[in-house]
Symmetry: C2
Subunit: 390 residues, 2 copies
């Protein structure tokens, strides 16, 4: 007899689509995978070797649940260069940002607890919240993020355990919050004394313009838990990410983590720490940005070339995704089936809507295909659209 | 506002005691740490290098939730050398065995669901089950494991979501189930169609005698989920462990794992896989066994030398722990405080009793201290006992 929660959870469509990627000739815009050809494999090999020479046994042993101290120190310094607000106590290492969502769910969510999200929102977050049987309310969102009037209305009615947002290059839409929206949202959660979870896996991958302050900065840490990761800036295979926030709240996450997996893998933490010490990190991010910007531009050209006039899309200023909207009566689930016969894949947008809407939308990842493949893949999608009468 | 579950969960005493271990001069019998000086650091460095040369980008990229196929194949072959029952489909990789417990809790436990355990039982399992608000019933246990008459009585009254046992060198008692008890327990759970979770992190660390068949083997996989890990046989820092069982049940665990952490760290999985391919694994285990046997013997001699006649203890045939029983009115929590002033630590046994009993018991780890330190540490415990009037 299974737990009640298993009755409502389904297999992730994305993880299932990922399995198709190994098909020969498949061009996938479906995953959220970074470009593996950019991984600093040689530098990682040198770091792994250095770690084992310098810290051999310790890097392979059990370690503390909150994560190794030097890495937490470095993250605190990255988030607060002046070191006026944050110390290692304000940072814990998580097994990918996905685990931070699991731990937050454990700490905050009872069966039926209200949680507010953007609409659409990150599918993996929905899965996490659903495993804890949260009552997710998708707040109306526009091109500048969550709609504050709508959020205010919902906050007046009930206090959620937390509000979950992704203000930089959102997954799935690629959209970012302008400064004014950030300030107002930071003030709103403070005024209502509501916890805000700010998920920022892509903020470092900005292709143009100036970075905007995080909600975590604007709220001066109060009420905000900030999540980020080295999965997109170094490599996902280490599963090294972090949560930053109030030290007392993090202690709760640590207690939950003890019973969840004891600790994030020690070796991966040491390697990421060594890589940060090597001074190669910012140069590597610059290379990733340059490559992804070229791919973003290639996809933009291909969208203009191969999609019908009835389609519209975002132009992401960073991150990994385009978001495409087809006419209201389009069904991107059916389109995907047609596309898969042509060896091209994307994620149907409805997956990201807690309210099940968005059947006419789709998400395209542009970071995991070379520019010629982006053109070829979009051509295939264009043909599939025609076959589907779109 | 936190979730209800956080009201009942406390910080792990063991994880807290682990933090004291870095104190200079501290001799700790508290953790469950393998001996770091035995870690095959050079061989791991060679494996990490080989993995990055051969599978560079793939070993750093996202991968499937169930774990990389070659490693799952090898584990299936280890568990079923004849390959008559098991394939990769019957194995998933988990982030340490602790995560397997978390995933099993997610899949099986609703608030208030009954779960049966040994008494005493593994503290980390209790933490996991408590995070999901299980109603844990500790079944009377003796030197041969869970008491079957008592288990039968409880099964007649209610069906638990699962029964959790550790039949080899149990944590905390070091005791193992004899063959007859295994056979009867396997039959009992089949007759009652109850899921049995068999946790076996230490089975490979047998110091003498012949290994006995697992419950998983005896039950021919039916009703039994088998958990084991490379944490004790290679190194814990990779957090690479596994669950084996019915393919349909494992699919449920995979769905839960998607929302929990997407996947176990890819690099660690590749390294463990490479290490298994290197053919060094069994030789390494032999070295670990030889060393731990010597330490077990050293602790046995020291127990006889420094503990009063009123104390009794198990003689573990493998694994990592001694279990000591003091007179009924002893309080090992108070003893620990005295011991810590003398720079020696253990875990008070009451931590392992779901019913809060066992205040006169304590757990001693013998794998993480050299033989002279074992003698010195036990001498300090002996002095502390005298100070406490025991």
């Amino acid at each position: 007899m299974y737990a009640e929660r298993m009755g409502t959870i389904k297999n992730s469509a994305i993880r299932d689509i990922l399995k198709l990627m190994s098909r020969p000739g498949m061009i996938s815009f479906a995953g959220g995978l970074p470009a593996p050809e950019l991984f600093p494999v040689k530098e990682i090999a040198a770091c792994a070797d250095a770690v084992l020479r310098k810290n051999g046994p310790a890097a392979l042993q059990y370690s503390v649940t909150e994560g190794i101290a030097p890495l937490r120190e470095k993250i605190a310094a990255m988030l607060d260069p002046g070191r006026t607000r944050l110390s290692a106590e304000n940072v814990i290492i998580t097994q990918g940002s996905q685990q931070a969502l699991d731990l937050l769910s454990k700490v905050f969510i009872d069966k039926g607890s209200p949680v507010f999200t953007e609409n659409p929102t990150y599918l993996g977050a929905l899965q996490s919240f659903q495993l804890f049987q949260a009552k997710v309310t998708a707040i109306a969102s526009d091109s500048g993020g969550i709609d504050l009037a709508s959020l205010r209305k919902h906050l007046a009615r009930q206090k959620p355990r937390f509000v979950y947002v992704m203000p930089n290059f959102q997954n799935p839409t690629g959209l970012s919050y302008p400064l004014e929206r950030r300030k107002e949202l930071a003030k709103l959660v403070r005024d209502h004394d509501v916890v805000l979870v700010e998920d920022d896996p892509y903020g470092a991958l900005r292709f143009e313009g100036e970075g905007l302050p995080s909600l975590f900065e604007l709220a001066e840490g109060r009420n905000v838990v900030y999540l980020s990761s080295f999965s997109k800036t170094i490599a996902p295979g280490f599963r090294v990410a972090y949560a930053a926030g109030d030290a007392e709240l993090l202690k709760k996450l640590v207690i939950a983590k003890q019973g969840t997996d004891l600790q994030t893998n020690t070796f991966g933490q040491y390697i990421v720490n060594e890589y940060l010490e090597s001074g190669l990190y910012q140069n590597h991010i610059d290379l990733v940005i340059k490559t992804y910007r070229g791919r973003r531009d290639a996809m933009l050209r291909a969208l203009e070339r191969h999609l019908p006039g009835s389609a519209s899309w975002t132009k992401p200023g960073g991150g990994m995704f385009f978001w495409v909207r087809l006419p209201d009566d389009a069904d991107t689930g059916a389109l995907l089936k047609e596309c898969i016969t042509r060896n091209v894949a994307f994620v149907p947008g409805t997956e990201f809507f807690p309210d099940g809407s968005g059947k006419n939308t789709l998400r395209l990842n542009f970071t995991n295909a070379a520019e010629p493949d982006i053109e070829e893949g979009m051509q295939r999608i264009g043909k599939s659209l025609k076959v589907c009468g779109l």
